[in-house]
């Protein structure tokens, strides 16, 4: 019988531990497919964050390290400097990258480190049980914004892709979503471009992936997809914010 669909080589056989309807699984798979397609699994080193995807080290079948909360870009910098022929990627959530790790992400991007960052923005802290993230939308109810995020005291949601694309050191930045097949195809293309940017030595690349957290949003997987499309995409527009001309 002809095999028409299977697990990418760059994923292990371990079943994902993520909640039903969470987008981490799709994001993991897309990265693994891209590593396979470029044939770089054996050169890849991934950096797992602190948060739900701390377990990414189990799921990618390539060398992996777990970083302290927010520090993945610094760890990746050290690895890439020491092992220049490796393909280094970080996988970080919004608490990790946009809150505790803002200094690391800004300066790693600004130095134009030749690494790829996959940034999962689900507008909430997942692992710790649904607290407000820097990307939580105005009015959004979380454990630590129980009356809704009030921008007067809690600030506005940070637009990471836009903010980082102002830096000259950055090569490629895109924001994508995974709520429907058309978006997933675009997301895969963006992840491909990001890794291609690194493989070609063109510098820092980042893909912001708008993701769901049905468990902490208190929605079913289907409702969560709808909520993301109706609430997140209008505030966090999809598209490319920076693209080296040569990468297409």
């Amino acid at each position: 019988m002809k095999k028409v669909f299977g697990k990418p080589r760059s994923l292990t056989k371990d079943p994902f531990t993520y909640c039903p309807g969470c987008h981490h699984g799709i994001a993991h798979r897309l990265i693994a497919e891209v590593l396979d397609e470029f044939g770089v699994r054996e050169r890849a080193i991934g950096v797992a964050p602190v948060g739900c995807s701390v377990f990414a080290y189990m799921f990618f079948d390539c060398d992996m390290i777990c970083a302290a909360h927010g520090r993945a870009p610094a760890v990746a910098t050290g690895m890439k400097k020491a092992k220049k022929d490796s393909i280094v990627f970080t996988y970080q959530g919004d608490g990790d990258l946009a809150s505790i790790g803002t200094a690391e992400i800004v300066h790693t991007a600004n130095r134009g480190e030749n690494i790829t960052v996959i940034f999962i923005n689900n507008a909430i802290y997942g692992m710790t049980g649904g607290q407000m993230a820097p990307t939580t939308l105005v009015g959004q109810v979380t454990q630590t914004s129980p009356y809704g995020r009030d921008p007067k005291t809690m600030g506005y949601p940070i637009k990471v892709a836009e903010m980082l694309s102002t830096l000259n050191g950055v090569s490629y930045i895109s924001r994508v979503a995974l709520t429907k097949p058309a978006y997933i195809i675009k997301a895969k293309k963006a992840i491909r471009k990001a890794f291609q940017t690194q493989i070609e030595g063109k510098g820092f690349s980042l893909v912001e992936i708008l993701s769901t957290c049905p468990t902490n949003w208190g929605l079913s997987p289907v409702e969560a997809n709808k909520w993301l499309e109706e609430n997140m995409i209008p505030y966090y527009p999809l598209g490319e914010f920076k693209n080296p001309e040569e990468v297409s």
């Binding site: 699994r41 054996e42 050169r43 890849a44 080193i45 950096v47 701390v54 080290y57 990618f60 079948d61 390539c62 060398d63 992996m64 390290i65 777990c66 970083a67 302290a68 520090r71 610094a74 760890v75 990746a76 910098t77 050290g78 690895m79 890439k80 400097k81 020491a82 092992k83 022929d85 490796s86 200094a103 690391e104 800004v106 300066h107 130095r111």
Partner: protein, 352 residues
């Protein structure tokens, strides 16, 4: 015999690190160790397969070391007291992940922003772990520029041997001082291969993972037991100290680093006044030379500890003495260096 050269302590550490094969340095400027960062920039940026990064923070610098060390290369960071505090999270991760690296702390007066003059108040932080959780660094306490060089090279070797971060615990005085030094050719020691764990890409092998955590407490306790066994072995095999005039001394002083240097002069001054003083100078602070101190305390009434702190190493001395002799303490703080005459006066008080 190599050639003797006149070098500033901070720069001598840099040269020693490079001669020890360290090609990856990550740092952030802070007085009184900035010359080391500048030296590494000057040298490494001109070398092939080497890297220097002025990190955005001490936190980022230690995490760059974590990343570089994970690939199996020798890497280093350096700072002074407040900056070392910032690195503690990363150091705890590196110790848990069992990665080798060298961290230099040219201590200044504390606490808080403190002063920029020399201090020894980071002893607890350096020897008892420093960050969260149970772990130890291998801690060296040089008292001359030559020793900075030799111990920096030792630090890289022991870090590799034990897969553990090692710290050079100097102070602003040793870092800023110029002395003649020799970079001795060292014999090649057999060190364990890094191939079994380094992250180099999984070509031709199963993937390697570096995971400094476990959600299973029994598994996490297993990690603790594993590193504890390593610390026991370090305590058994790597203690270094210098003993001066301890046989038949009226009083034995325990001091390290800059203070030990001063005490050596005090010993000869005391002799002129007919006072016979000995010195035990720990060269490794972890492992601590407790056996020699315990032995010395059996034959003497009093041990006198001098530090540039409120009294930190004195606690380890008391544990080693274990009630067999009295332990007196004298300390200056905040960047103040005790003078020779001051220490001699205190010695006389001890002997009353």
């Amino acid at each position: 015999m190599g050639e003797k050269v006149l070098m500033k302590g901070n720069e001598a550490i840099g040269e020693a690190a490079i001669q020890a094969g360290c090609r990856y340095y990550f740092g952030y400027p802070i007085t009184p160790q900035s010359e080391l960062t500048a030296y590494m920039a000057k040298r490494l940026l001109k070398m092939e397969d080497a890297s220097f990064v002025q990190a955005e923070s001490e936190i980022a610098a230690i995490n760059m070391v974590y990343g570089a060390a994970a690939t199996g290369v020798r890497s280093m960071t350096s700072s002074s007291s407040p900056g070392i505090s910032l690195k503690q999270e990363g150091i705890s991760y590196i110790a848990c992940a069992e990665l080798p690296c060298v961290i230099v702390n040219m201590q200044r007066g504390g606490p808080g922003l403190g002063s920029i003059q020399p201090g020894q108040a980071d002893y607890f932080q350096a020897t008892k772990g420093g960050g969260h959780g149970d772990y130890h660094l291998i801690v060296f306490a040089p008292s001359s520029v030559q020793e900075l060089v030799d111990l920096t090279m030792d630090a890289f070797e022991l870090a590799d041997k034990y897969k553990n971060p090692a710290m050079i615990l100097g102070d602003g005085l040793i870092g800023q001082m110029m002395e003649s030094v020799e970079f001795k050719k060292r014999k090649e020691n057999d060190l364990p291969s890094k191939e079994g764990w380094a992250l180099t890409g999984c070509k031709g092998r199963d993937k390697h993972i570096i995971v400094p955590f476990s959600l299973d407490p029994y598994e996490m306790e297993g990690i603790n037991l594993k590193i504890k066994a390593k610390y026991d072995s370090i305590k058994e095999n790597e203690v270094k100290y210098e003993a001066v005039n301890i046989e038949n001394a009226d009083l034995i002083v325990v001091a390290y680093g800059t203070v030990a240097r001063i005490v050596k002069t005090v010993i000869s001054n005391a002799k002129k006044e007919g006072i016979n003083v000995g010195l035990i100078r720990p060269i490794t602070l972890f492992p601590f030379p407790e056996k020699i101190i315990a032995k010395a305390s059996e034959k003497i009434n009093k041990i006198f500890v001098v530090e540039m702190s409120m009294g930190q190493m004195v606690e380890d001395v008391k544990l080693a003495v274990n009630g067999k002799a009295k332990v007196d303490f004298y300390g200056r703080m905040g960047g103040v260096i005790p003078t020779q005459s001051e220490i001699l006066t205190e010695i006389k008080k001890c002997l009353k």
